[in-house]
Amino acid sequence: MPVQGLRTVTSARNGVGAFILQCKRLDFHYCNHGGSSRGMLAFLTQTLPEFARENPQIEVRVAPRHGKHPVIKGQYINGREKAICVRNMEPGEILKKAMILKDASGEKLKRTKKPVTSLNESVRGIWSPYHGDLRGV
């Protein structure tokens, strides 16, 4: 056997070819009686149909939760969930929160210092003291 192949798996680069929105599902929870849900009820009747129409990639669920504050929960492709409580908010503010959940990647929030992360090898290689302008002495 002169050479053998090693089996690996290609790693995904979302957005290079196809772009897949990471938000998979949005759950809107509301209460029919609570005063904190008033804005949410208005949002559900007025704004949500248009929001859902603009974002067909997201599965939208609306479910009541009796006696609780209204909540938007986002399910992400990586299996995580993000929830935002929208008590006493106006429909406009709720839409903003929904947009936050829609744009999020689902990853845990982290502080990073470097702006660019790359899977590729360095184009010009890693500096080594043995290369470059070599001169025998």
């Binding site: 090693l6 090898e121 360095s122 010009r124 290689g125 890693i126 500096w127 080594s128 003291p129 043995y130 290369h131 470059g132 302008d133 070599l134 001169r135 025998g136 002495v137």
Partner: protein, 199 residues
């Protein structure tokens, strides 16, 4: 022993972290404060290569500045490019700074090949090896016929009994190894296998 000493790419003065720091030398011994930490950190910060600096030209231009790093396997050597490839013609002007013949070889003495054995010799090697494998080992045969032990292994094979004996000898030796030596030998083997995967 032939060695070539490497001169760094940049002049020695341009690498300030190699120079002793006067302020550090004045400070007492090994204590390090935040102020000195910052300064040493700054010295260690590698500046980009000079060829990336601002240039006086007014137009967009292309410079040839090969990096000081190990060559990449994705760049096919010129000799391996097929004749139809345009890159072969483009790379011709590359000046060869080092003469390959002047470089020292990996082996101290390059064994020259004689090609002096004829089929009758090979027959003799085989009969000798079969006749008494204990006396006529590979090395003894190699000495007798003035060839390499590898050549002996290529033309003939030891008898099964001899192989069995050798195996027992090896087992006897290995049975006396302690855990440290055994692990070190295994690690060495693993490292060797990692070379083939380029790790």
């Amino acid at each position: 022993m032939a060695t070539s000493i490497i001169a760094p790419k940049r002049p020695f003065v341009a690498l300030p972290f190699l120079l002793p720091s006067w302020t550090d030398a004045l400070a007492s011994g090994s204590r390090r404060y935040q102020s000195s930490y910052r300064r040493t950190k700054q010295r260690l910060r590698v500046k980009p290569d000079a060829s990336f600096g601002p240039s006086s030209q007014t137009h967009d231009h292309i410079i040839h500045n090969p990096p000081s790093s190990a060559p990449s396997v994705y760049h096919t050597p010129n000799k391996f490019l097929p004749a139809s490839d345009v890159r072969r013609a483009m790379r011709t002007e590359k000046p060869s700074t080092t003469d390959a013949n002047a470089l020292p070889g990996v082996y101290k003495t390059e064994a020259e090949r004689k090609y002096h054995l004829n089929p009758s010799d090979i027959e003799e090697i085989r009969t000798l090896r079969l006749a008494d494998p204990m006396i006529w080992s590979r090395h003894k045969l190699a000495k007798r016929f003035e060839c390499s032990p590898l050549f002996i292994a290529m033309v003939c094979e030891a008898s099964p009994e001899k192989k069995q004996i050798q195996k027992q000898v090896l087992e006897a030796v290995q049975s006396r190894w302690g855990p440290k030596r055994r692990m070190a030998r295994e690690d060495r083997q693993l490292r060797r296998e990692a070379w083939g995967r380029d790790e």
